[in-house]
Amino acid sequence: MSIVAGCDVGSLTAKAVIMKNGKIIGSHIIKSKPRPKDSADAALEGALSAAGVSKADIAYCIGTGYGREKIDFVNEVVSEITCHGKGARWMLPTAETVIDIGGQDCKTMKLDKDGNVDRFAANDKCASGTGRFLEVMAKVLHIDIDELGKLSAKAKNPITLASTCTVWAQADVIKYINSGVSIEDIGAGVNTAMAVRVAILVNAVKPEGDIFMTGGVAKNIGVLETLEKLIGKRIKRSRKADPQMAGAIGAALLSMEKIDGSGNNRLK
């Protein structure tokens, strides 16, 4: 069976996945560089060396993400909405509703029985429903982005935040810091503001069946758990892979479908 690849060049991170026989044999994630082409090359390079194969071994490669049009080694490009849907179904074979929050965008999609995206809604309103919002806030709080999620559980009296605008939320956060509110309470407020915004989008597509979350923000446990409360449903976890890789995985699966019709994604 052939080796395939998927490459997802996002606004904040670039990811590449190499698959063989429906299994991941190598993957790599890096912070995006100014030129998407460079990001793609570096991510693929990393994944190739992790898998111990060379570029020539790749039978087919699909590119996705914001920078998809600029990747020169791919055979085809597909939008990340479709790819995240595919990837999510692979990671959680029962997934029907997928929430993907990346750096610039937040989307919710419903999958049909074949793992194709049936309906989706994307956040156009404002950057405050995106991973970038969390990053800006983490910076203001002088903490690491992986720390932010954990604050929710530690908060005693979370603040309510201007969830409508990153710029103004930032001003508010600074005010709270200045008035001596604990970092935990502020962090929890930040995560909640984000979750509220995402919940509106999720509820707009009327979630059904198993829900799964992809994209970097899926790793923020505070957002995830608050979101569960807001939509009143559990979001399923999967240990199969890093949810941030879902787009790249989806792209690789589509590559596989392309060459041998496998990668079948029927709802199990």
Partner: protein, 466 residues
Amino acid sequence: MRPEIEEYHYDWLMGNTLKASAILPLGTKKETELAYRYVPYYKNVVKSFIDAGDPGVQTLVMLAKYYENILTAKARGKKIAATTFCNSPVILYAMDIVPVTFEILTAVGAMVWKRGMFDYMDFCCEVGMPETSCSSQRGALGAVLAGLCEQIDMIICDTPGVCDTNANAFAFASAYMDKPFFQLNYPSSIGDNRSQQYHIDDYKEMIKFAEQHSGNKLDYDRLAQVLAEVDKQDAMIADLEDMLMLKPTPVPPLFNLALYAGRFCFSGHPQYTTLLESMVASAKQNAEAGISGLKNREEKLRVFMCYIDHYTVDVNFYNYLEERGIVHVGSILTRNFRDNTPYAKEMPGSTYGVDTSTPEAMLDTIAQMNARLPMVRSIRGPYDKKGMWLEESLVCAKMYQADCLIYNGTPGCRNTWGMVKPFARDIEKHGYPCHIMYDDAFDDRVESWEATRERLDEFFKIRGLL
């Protein structure tokens, strides 16, 4: 929407909360203090009202009655009409239809609830209302669309020509729930024969619509009674307005809120008369003693809110004014354009009179009255045209001896945000410092109250006002 929120019938929840708070002061002072402990979440707001004395308590009673009226409507075989605060409920009371005014429900929720109306506002966005639309409708509308309120039978709105986002919210509600819809429409001018006639023609059609969908015929005797009550109320409002002009003014800031809340809830209804009587009596007492209506009795500054007030949790805004010794000389919502009020005399064509001699005269009265409700009157046309926002604000500022003007609204207010910058510039040219608040009167997630307060303090300090 959070699943636990969906468990509660909104009107019922709010109605009972208000009912409970309205009976709190019936006990002894000590009992009341004790009872506060059991209502940690709305203690502050209830306390603010109760501390305002009998008028405050009357306001609570009135709000409780308003909800009771809604909650018992179906059992009493009455129809419910959703409407907006720019539309006077007078005609609905005269026709025995129960009004549900979205903005009142939203404001009450925002004041009383710790989480404000956020969940309902967001629910509106979930079903597709733009989140940039006005929050004053979005709150209550969310609860209605989620089916957490008494079923509405028809929708009557009067903001086409005045405010898009408002009219649009009602049009959306009607399409979403498939309910009969009527819009009163206002041209951009006021006071000339042509627009006067338009108001009357339009109003008559509205009555036809209400008759058709409620099954009740307009009873002119009853209308005469209601208008007589309005007449009484107008006289008392004029008294309050007179006292507001005194320096120091004997009228506490919170009375402004009560004044217009009463008009929106119960104009032409004895319930509002009771509230007004209580307010007038209380203010008169202060006036006779020559003291300020502020709690600490020291008037430091007089502010005219050229638009609306701020309503989020615990009536923070009014308490802030009290704390800082600031007098509130009214907002666009407090003004009543009855022909005998002094400020109205400076603005010919802007007023209405009450004439109950014939059915036709009554219809004219009520149509003209409706055309002079807040917003409908002053922001329908270009702000600098005769009788519009600028003129009104300047006349009021002068008459009530305001030291400065403050604009507060909601980001959803397309209408005023479209012109507030040039407006503020013009106001400043007339020598009044003018502050534009960038928050949302009903949603403190847009700007936290702390931040809002800081900006206010900064304004007062930098402009040498406090």
